[in-house]
């Protein structure tokens, strides 16, 4: 990433080793995303992309290096700073079937981060209004709030998960394989939705995907991970059109194309 561009969330020289493991799953990784910018983390299984996303979310502390948010390292133990960070950096997971509590109405699920992260919507009525507007922004009717996740299709559930992530009005959305579990015709709809939401809200997007076309559709910058290292990063178009790294080339060449 260029040194002059403003940075919102960054990994600096980050390595990570799972407890008891013999080697690092990430070694010396530098990535950054600016305000309103988008970064795709691509690679195959075991590349370390999901681990990197979890470090950026502050779910684990890196073994070496640091995660910086608005220029400051994440501080464990500072509860106010932690809450502010969680409000600002939200996530969407791959599987909307397991990421939504089946016993909670959709409205409660979406309002949950408002409650737990101390959002300004203090009253139940204010939260209902907020939930309705969030549902609208992801293309679902307001009455969806009173129903349960089981009443919705995979694509609709992913919309609900996105609405929940947007609830605390985050600055960064980290999405780990957000369309991989969805049917092909639904994928493109969710990709379009994420693009529109990011643009409309000035949201920074960190997208983890094994699917280069999804990353190309959503992200201006891309980092290619292989065996825990960033083998190449830069503007998505540049990297895809003229990959400098041999692994990146292999990855691009392997994608099956329509004749």
């Amino acid at each position: 990433m260029t040194g002059t561009a403003p940075v919102l969330l960054a990994a600096q020289g980050v390595s990570y080793r799972y407890r008891g493991a013999e080697r690092d799953v990430l070694s010396n990784v530098d990535v950054a995303v600016g305000p309103g910018a988008s970064l795709g983390l691509v690679g195959e299984s075991g590349a370390g992309k999901s681990t990197l996303a979890q470090l950026l979310l502050g779910l684990h502390a890196p073994t070496a290096g640091r995660i910086l948010f608005r220029g400051a390292p994440l501080r464990k133990g500072d509860r106010a700073a932690q809450l502010a960070f969680r409000r600002s950096v939200q996530t969407v997971f791959q599987d909307p079937y397991s990421s939504l509590d089946p016993r909670m109405t959709v409205g409660r699920s979406i309002a949950e981060p408002l409650v737990s992260l101390g959002a300004p919507e203090r009253s139940a009525a204010a939260r209902r209004t907020r939930v309705a507007s969030l549902l609208e922004s992801v293309g679902l009717p307001a009455d969806a709030a009173s129903r349960y996740p089981s009443a919705f299709s995979g694509g609709q559930r992913q919309r609900i998960a996105i609405a929940r992530a947007l609830a605390p009005d985050p600055a960064v959305l980290i999405a780990d394989e957000p369309v991989s579990a969805l049917d092909m015709s639904v994928r493109i709809q969710i990709v379009d939705l994420l693009r529109e939401l990011a643009a409309a809200r000035g949201l920074s997007l960190v997208l983890v995907s094994h699917d280069l076309s999804v990353v190309a559709a959503l992200c201006e910058n891309i980092a290619v991970l292989h065996d825990g290292r960033v083998v190449e990063q830069g503007g998505t178009e540049q990297v895809l059109q003229a990959p400098a790294d041999e692994y990146t080339r292999r990855l691009i060449d392997a994608i099956p194309r329509l004749p």
Partner: protein, 292 residues
């Protein structure tokens, strides 16, 4: 076993699959002749896997098939026990998305492979061991001696799928059914498995039924495709025609979605033209991305 030259290997007509309540598949027709390569494409709930299981005579209880499903001259709807096994062993074999579920975790790869080879090729002892290694080499597994001694948790996902293919091929079937064989695999591994399937069916003159949600995957190795949705056949035709002039609005929508995502990728470079379907002479061998 009926090996009449003129008869189709698989004849499905008016297939209907029901559970106790409703139709899950209805009015599906499919005919597979020797050497055909047919794709079945559809999204979740389209009935593509149930169609495959009906052909194999392996529908789980309480699902029941009706209509016509004749494989190698045997009616798979009424075939029970040994009659069905005979068809599954010799006329048709299958590989599935997750090879872990079809491979035995307690048996070495070599032993799992020895069983069908002994049965179908009548080999024993040293000859059998040589045939096992040969069939591992055929699916381009590196270091066949090591793989033969390994248990399946000791090899990678791509290598497991190669072992599953080796076992399927050991039965010397006339048609291979591959149900989402690369969906769980990394894209560089997928490329190698598709190449392998392509080569294996060509060299053996086998027919292939490839089931996938991915149009690009299906179009890479098959010539004809059946499109399914909500348990029904939407349309059937040559891959190229389906992709360029879909007759059904649903197919058009599927193709448009796939093209819309692909449009974000750089165009295929000149030197890579050999990878396009129709040119099956390209055989790039195993890709390097399959280490355990």
């Amino acid at each position: 076993m009926n090996r009449n030259a003129g008869a189709p290997l698989i004849e499905v007509a008016g297939l209907r699959v029901r559970d106790d309540v409703r139709d899950l598949v209805s009015a599906v027709d499919l005919r597979v002749e020797p050497g055909d390569r047919v794709g079945i494409i559809g999204e979740s709930g389209s009935g593509k896997s149930l169609t495959a299981l009906s052909i194999l005579g392996l529908l789980p209880h309480p699902l029941r098939a009706s209509g016509t499903v004749v494989v190698g001259g045997t009616d798979m709807i009424t075939a029970r026990g040994r009659a069905g096994d005979r068809v599954r062993g010799s006329t048709v074999t299958a590989i599935f998305q997750e090879p872990l579920t079809s491979l035995d975790p307690l048996m070495t790869v070599g032993r799992q492979l020895a069983w069908p080879i002994a049965r179908h090729q009548g080999l024993r002892g040293r000859e059998l061991r040589a045939a096992v290694l040969e069939s591992l080499r055929d699916v381009r597994l590196p270091d066949p001696e090591r793989v033969a001694r390994a248990h399946i948790h000791e090899i990678s996902g791509g290598q497991r799928q190669r072992v599953a293919i080796a076992i399927a091929l050991a039965c010397r079937p006339r048609v291979l059914i591959a149900d989402e064989p690369t969906t769980a695999l990394d894209v560089t591994v997928q490329a190698g498995i598709l190449d392998l399937l392509d080569t294996a069916v060509r060299e053996r003159g086998m027919a292939l039924v490839l089931i996938s949600h991915d149009l690009a995957v299906v179009s890479r190795v098959t010539d004809r495709v059946l499109v399914m949705r909500d348990g029904r056949e939407v349309e059937e035709g040559a891959v190229r025609r389906i992709l360029t002039a879909p007759a059904d609005p649903y197919t058009a929508q599927l193709v448009a979605a796939a093209r819309a995502l692909e449009a974000h990728l750089p165009r295929v470079r000149e030197g890579d033209a050999a990878r396009s379907p129709g040119d099956r002479t390209a055989d790039r061998g195993p890709t390097g991305g399959e280490r355990a």
